[in-house]
């Protein structure tokens, strides 16, 4: 195994920089749009509204069960496009590397990014690499941006959400958050919990094609989890949403670990789950469609839009009713 490390020279624009970019990075991402290494990638003419998004990734540790910082960076940006109904056309990636990072770690992240991009059917078409002095970074920071094209004129319309609409969640909550937390704190929990990091365009875009405007709005439930995302949706639409605790998918293992650590799975981050608000008449068909995809196996109707002031309520498993509010500064560590 190579014991090469990232040096400041890798970021200084000379021979080493060129080698790193061409042999280590571009060679892995090889695709026709990237190949010329122009200052911009030329994406060609596109039919439809353009969607554009960006996100930075600083997760520690860089590798954890079910994923790594590279897979997160690709999936996160693909998903931000997908929930706007956009097919990804090209991604950028900017690395900030810390002097002394083992080259094999970077290579592992790059391989993972390329694998995730291929899975999502998108190419990484432009990028940048900077190196900072030892102690001024955390090994590797990744920022990805993405351009997508919206098809068939769909766009998120939270203002069209109305009583009788259903809330659909595409799968189990909390897996990513706990996978990272357990890896980070080296908790000796005998629990097989893997991050759910996954590109959701293959799951969500066929649903948009089929159901169109019956899908009012979609959001990926990342930082803050389902609890924060559903509050944002309720307040954006000015509606009351009632979730059913017994219908919210949580794996038995995540539920048990949450009980031990005092967490609420509603507020744990996910990297491969989306919330959709859909016309009541289309909800069952939507769930059937989602459940046929590997990233939507546990999709379920988890609640509905009701009359009442804007906000979110939870019908609890034991038949009670309570609010789900934004957490009041609970010190959950950063996980994305």
């Amino acid at each position: 195994m190579s014991d090469e490390v990232i040096l400041l020279a890798h970021g200084e624009g000379g021979k080493r920089s060129r080698e790193l970019v061409e042999k280590t990075i571009a060679a892995r991402f090889a695709n026709p749009l990237l190949a010329p290494l122009f200052d911009s990638a030329l994406l060609g003419e596109q039919a439809g509204e353009i969607a554009f998004t960006t996100d930075g990734y600083v997760v520690t540790p860089h590798f954890f069960p079910g994923g790594d910082i590279g897979r997160l960076a690709v999936c996160g940006t693909v998903n931000d496009l997908a929930v706007c109904g956009a097919r990804p056309v090209g991604l950028s990636c900017a690395f900030i590397l810390e002097e002394g990072l083992p080259l094999v770690s970077l290579e592992r992240v790059l391989d993972s990014m390329q694998a995730a991009a291929r899975e999502a059917g998108v190419a990484i078409v432009t990028g940048d690499t900077k190196v900072v002095e030892r102690g001024k970074g955390d090994g590797i920071f990744v920022t990805t941006s993405g351009v997508g094209v919206i098809r068939n004129g769909w766009r998120p319309r939270p203002e069209t959400v109305r009583p009788g609409d259903r809330v659909v969640l595409t799968g189990t909550m909390g897996d990513h958050h706990l996978a990272v937390l357990i890896a980070r704190n080296n908790l000796a929990i005998a629990a097989d919990i893997r991050s759910d990091a996954a590109p959701l365009n293959g799951l969500l875009l066929p649903a948009v094609d089929r159901f169109g405007g019956a899908i009012r709005v979609m959001r990926d439930a990342t930082r803050g989890g389902v609890g924060v995302t559903i509050n944002e949706l309720a307040h954006a639409g000015g509606v009351r949403i009632v979730l059913e605790e017994s219908r919210l998918p949580v794996s038995q293992t995540v539920s048990a670990v949450c009980e031990i650590l005092g967490f609420d799975p509603l507020f744990l981050a996910n990297e491969g789950k989306a919330l959709l608000i859909v016309d009541g008449s289309a909800a069952n068909d939507l769930v059937s469609l989602l459940a046929g995809h590997e990233f939507g196996r546990d999709a379920a109707i988890v609640g509905e839009v009701a009359d009442g002031p804007a906000g979110v309520l939870l019908r609890t498993r034991v038949g009670g009713l309570r609010a789900i509010d934004y957490p009041a500064g609970d010190a959950l560590p950063r996980i994305c």
């Binding site: 080296n186 005998a190 048990a256 670990v257 939870l314 309570r322 609010a323 509010d325 009041a328």
Partner: protein
């Protein structure tokens, strides 16, 4: 690489509390409760923060509406700790050579001028520990510093505080002391029940406290006040079962101690813990934030352990401080008003910036109502 922290994991990797949250059993209990009472809503006061949180988190008030009204009494030790105690702790923290060791939930509680969190940011040595024994370990590791543990709590915490003093004495650790703010539950319940302002029909008695003091500890209270007392576990089925037990007592016009939490609590309780408390502490008057001074409701450090009493050792007095203007915590803690009826609730007084006792800790009545309340 951090040291792996071993975590107990159930054999089948499922949530061990599931059986106590069974939806069908809960629905059956709720139906029984609703079918067993057609009078005006029975007013039941819980006096334990964990009950307050369980009731809020599982949304139990709504399905019982019209039949039983669950009222959160003074159940959170952090909430009922007066401002003057925090001020005394901060004064100690700012003294040279003193380390304050405390449970984590105390550091954000505001005193009259600051919190321990602020004092720490200003350079005071404030450490968070998970047990009073950790504080003894801190003292033994650094004999040049005085380590003061903030002994705040009810009968669940008191035995471990007593144990830390006995341990420090046995190991000759003279630089350890405790600033006590310990309270006893049954005495406070009796005073509440005798208060003409307090209109309650029954008590939901705490699970953990009762495991220590024993369910017989409520007998004198029942005899004096004539209110049913049911010791309840912390899970939703425990609480619903206990409400049903209370309604049945009231229907039958009886008042006695019943134990729903028999899987842990016994009539006699934990005798070893009781003996520790009797040895190290003696009853004293206690100032409850929001309620005032309740005679005999506190535990002070007995004279023979005076050298472990930070108050005596450092000459620090816990001064009584008036409630802040507009604060209606006293009425909330007595069940006279619901949290949203206080004009400060959610406006001047929020979990991020609490004014009164009930908003201070996450287990306070107002903090729980703010976070989980469903409005009118």
């Amino acid at each position: 690489m951090p040291i792996p922290i071993p975590m107990p994991m159930p054999q089948n990797r499922s949530n061990p509390f599931e059986p106590f949250r069974d939806p069908a059993a809960a629905a059956a209990l709720i139906a029984k409760i609703r079918g067993s009472w057609d009078g005006p809503p029975v007013r039941i006061m819980e006096v334990c923060g964990t009950h307050t949180m369980a009731i809020a988190r599982h949304g139990l008030r709504e399905p019982l509406q019209g039949v039983a009204k669950l009222i959160s009494g003074p159940g959170c030790p952090v909430c009922v700790t007066p401002d003057g105690y925090i001020d005394a702790a901060i004064a100690l923290a700012e003294a040279p050579g003193v380390t304050i060791a405390t449970f984590g939930d105390m550091v954000r509680v505001p005193g009259t001028r600051a919190s321990l969190e602020r004092a720490r940011a200003g350079g005071a040595d404030v450490r968070i520990v998970y047990s009073p024994l950790d504080a003894v370990t801190l003292a033994s590791a650094d004999p040049a510093r005085e380590v003061v543990f903030l002994g705040v709590g009810f009968e669940t915490t008191a035995p471990t505080v007593a144990g830390s003093i006995i341990t420090a004495q046995a190991r000759g650790i003279a630089n350890y002391s405790v600033l006590p703010s310990l309270r006893t539950i049954p005495g406070a319940m009796a005073l509440l029940a005798a208060d003409p302002d307090v209109k309650i029909d029954a008590f939901l008695c705490p699970a953990n406290v009762s495991a220590i003091i024993g369910t017989d500890a409520y007998r004198p209270l029942v005899e004096v006040c004539g209110l049913p007392c049911v010791v309840a576990g912390f899970e939703p089925l425990d609480i619903l079962s206990s409400v049903l037990m209370i309604l049945r007592q009231i229907s039958a016009r009886t008042a006695r101690v019943e134990n729903e939490y028999s899987r842990v609590a016994t009539p006699a309780g934990n005798r070893k813990a009781q003996a520790l408390m009797a040895d190290v502490f003696e009853p004293c008057d206690a100032d409850w934030r929001g309620l005032g001074v309740l005679p005999g409701s506190g535990l002070g450090i007995a004279s023979k352990y005076a050298s472990f009493d930070a108050g005596r050792k450092f000459g620090v007095a816990v001064l009584s401080t008036p409630e802040r203007p507009g604060c209606r915590c006293g009425e909330v803690l007595k069940g006279m008003i619901d949290p949203p009826e206080c004009p400060l609730f959610g406006n001047a007084c929020t979990p991020e910036s609490p004014v009164g006792a009930c908003m201070v800790s996450t287990e306070g009545a107002c903090a729980a109502a703010r976070r989980f309340g469903i409005g009118a």
